[in-house]
Amino acid sequence: MRDAQRVRGGTFRGSVLRVSPLPLSAEILLARAAAGLSRVVGAGGGTTVPGKLLWKLDPGAVDRLAARLPRGSALISATNGKTTTAAMVARILAPSVRLAHNRSGANLVSGVASALLAARDAELGLFEVDEAALPEVARRLKPRAVSLGNLFRDQLDRYGELELLAERWRATVQKLPAEAVLVVNGDDPQVGDLVSERPRSTVFGLDDPRHASAELQHAADSKWCVRCGTAYVYAAAYIGHLGDYRCPACAHSRPLLHVRAREVELHGLDSVSFDLVTPEGTRRVELGVPGLYNVYNALAAAALGRALGASLEEVQAGLQGFSAAFGRFERIPIGERSLLVLLIKNPAGANEVVRTLLTGTPPRLLLVALNDEIADGRDVSWIWDVDLEPLLGGLERLIASGERAAELALRFKYAGLPVQAIEVVPSLEEALDRGLELTAPGEALVALPTYTAMLGLRDLVARRGFVKPYWEAAA
């Protein structure tokens, strides 16, 4: 929690020095060549092509590449907020450290391998890691810091049940290198309880009951005490089951917070500001992205940045310089109109997108795109657990798109939207054109795509020249 370098106020001076560089194997050189080739043939920038190749040729090469990083690696995992948190940490560290960072969200072992291959002179590895891939990535990279944000039900078809994932995380935490720093979200009962495995942890959380919901949301998953099974009592529930909880039977409760947000002010769709309270002092942070969930992301980024040696000033400056991560509340100008892209991928995350949208003028037109590829989750039942009903107030037209457009249309139909207000347009391109056609000049078309639909939409606007392809976009 208190490492000597940071207290002296330095940044990264005297960071743990890793083993001297090992010779690069032929496999690594080959995989690097594949990245260039993939880009040349236009196969999507080769985000994971070289990593997949390397992973196949020589899995141990990932360990060796990581071991070459002089300042080690930091890992970020969570159901929601991985990409944004990692982008925030990158912003905090980037002025002083060269990073290997999987910024486009390719977060399996192969994505980490690709980022390692691409950043040849990197000093520090900064990786968002898929929840289920965390045990393997941690075992191979031997990280010096790990940030664990939240666990919500997400892609049960792929991850299995939440409990199982939480158990694997616990085992991973137990096996971390002795000197590694653990950063956890204390507001999540399952995640917060991991501090019991590692007394030297940094705990972050929200401390502003004015923003608590009136009751636990439908998407609250960890409602029962992790120790004894009794229902938690919440002094404040912020997002899903995240909040200030206490078990009335065995008194298990939210751990003490080291890094907190107080005096949170939400400014509609534009921004949010809060007091960042740390053991080193308090700073007001003006964040250029909206919503309570981004306060959680910023807290995770601040706590991890701090664990990696960043000063409070660097943390504040990094957070304030941050703009939206890839496809997460991203505004893309399209001629006289714009496209506002808000990724949705599970009930808890989508609820926050809805809540944030409603802090502005409720949209009259929505493009929602539901795909069911592996990265989206093949089981689409989760859309029925999202609280979409509050959107219906102002909604005049829904364009339902993606491979499961009809299922999505049913979700809105049974929520009470008249069938006449629903257009089913499975093709993303046709749906985008239709949406833009219905959008007045100067207005934004609000699009809520699942992961692969988001990539598809971005690809479409990139091909039309409105945004850089993602492998060229800066974090």
Partner: protein, 250 residues
Amino acid sequence: MKIVVGHLFPDYLNIYADRGNIAVLERRAAWRGHDLEVRALEPGDGLEAGEHDLYYVGGGQDREQELIAPALAAMGEALKAAVTGGAAALAVCGGYQLFGHFYRDRSGDELPGAGLLPLHTVAGERRMIGDVLLECEFEPGHPRRTLAGFENHAGRTYLDEGAVPLGRVLAGFGNDGVSGHEGCRAGRVIGTYLHGPLLPRNPWLADWLLAQALAHRTGDSTQLAPLEDELEAEAHAVSAGRARSRGGRF
């Protein structure tokens, strides 16, 4: 006419969008001019004879199922009496397992069941996950109908000798991955692993349940007016296609 649905333990068993099933029952009743009231049933609640026309129980994660199994089992006799009195029931996934005789987990411990369906479930190693398509024949001579959904279960469910499955598996795993059967039907009680949720893309089953519930309420068999189900049919077709192209099998 007002239909009353008893929703069993919604705080514990609601993992696979079970409220989607409830929403479909509510809307499809309302579109025919019937009120439908959902009453949550909590552990320890008594059941008044004839109060509910339809019972619904959803799925939960292992932990929630463990927490709630004894309460559901304790309600077993009262539920049986209600069903004998003409009420219908739909149990999905975890609720389906707990409607049987028992559920045996991997360490050999048994969770008690409510005993409404003639079956038992044993936890297996590999989860059965994927899209499923079934063919059902509720009444001999009537045209066969299909159900499309998604399954995700480690439990292998075994029907008692002579018990009737809900349907024949056209694609996907089903009860145990080998029998070719999915779900179970005992009179007006239906259990199935299919979620997705089940009813939006399979409206004929929602209407069948509503018809049973109305018959219980009125004492007469009721004909439900047909509805415009174009979106439902499209969603069903996509889901059925998914099962055919990528449904699971051992």
